[in-house]
Symmetry: C2
Subunit: 90 residues, 2 copies
DNA sequence: TATATATTTAGATAATTATCTAAATACCTA
DNA sequence: TAGGTATTTAGATAATTATCTAAATATATA
């Protein structure tokens, strides 16, 4: 889960996740939302993919990115641990 | 919340949070759990404090650190957003 | 007040990460 | 198959971050 935390630490990558929550997008469409070159976006997408926060599928000339919620669930579980109080003496 | 995400991206800092979940600890006690100098731990504690993930209180010669769960709640809310499906057409 | 302990601050260095340009790969279509 | 579009890979550089040593600050106590 370390990769997920690192992937989430960058604002651009969190913005990508927000975009993908609305709809699946190609790499180029994602890049269109940023003032950043396509190789830079490609790098961020790669980190998100390694962290299993997004999935990609090749469709012809395009690569379509989409959210992968399974790791989100793991991370929420990690956080919930801090919000549940330990019962004393148990 | 950007600072919280950045603070959480480091494994040592997440380990500190886990230690503090069990009990409040002084800076020195926290440092005792790591193979790292005290100034390095102090730096990590500072980032956690800036992110409002921990609080500190001076008690005599010691400084006691404790968890601050309010920002955890914000971050969980952020994650939950990705796990709730949008209803189509609404 | 002098000394010891706990912690932080300052400043330097090393490691990691983000970003760019240029080139490579893959697919589509005329 | 030649040319165009979409995307990634490679390699360089700049920015950020982690870590260290040495020094400073604050408190306790003999």
């Amino acid at each position: 889960m370390n990769e997920a935390f690192k992937a989430l630490s960058d604002p651009s990558r969190r913005k990508i996740l927000h975009l993908l929550k609305k709809e699946d997008l190609t790499a180029g469409e994602i890049a269109g939302h940023f003032n950043m070159t396509k190789p830079s976006i490609s790098h961020h997408l790669n980190l998100l993919r390694q962290a299993n926060l997004v999935e990609s599928e090749k469709k012809g000339q395009h690569i379509i990115y989409s959210l992968n919620t399974s790791v989100f669930e793991d991370v929420v579980t990690w956080f919930m641990d801090f919000l549940t109080k330990d019962e004393e003496g148990k």
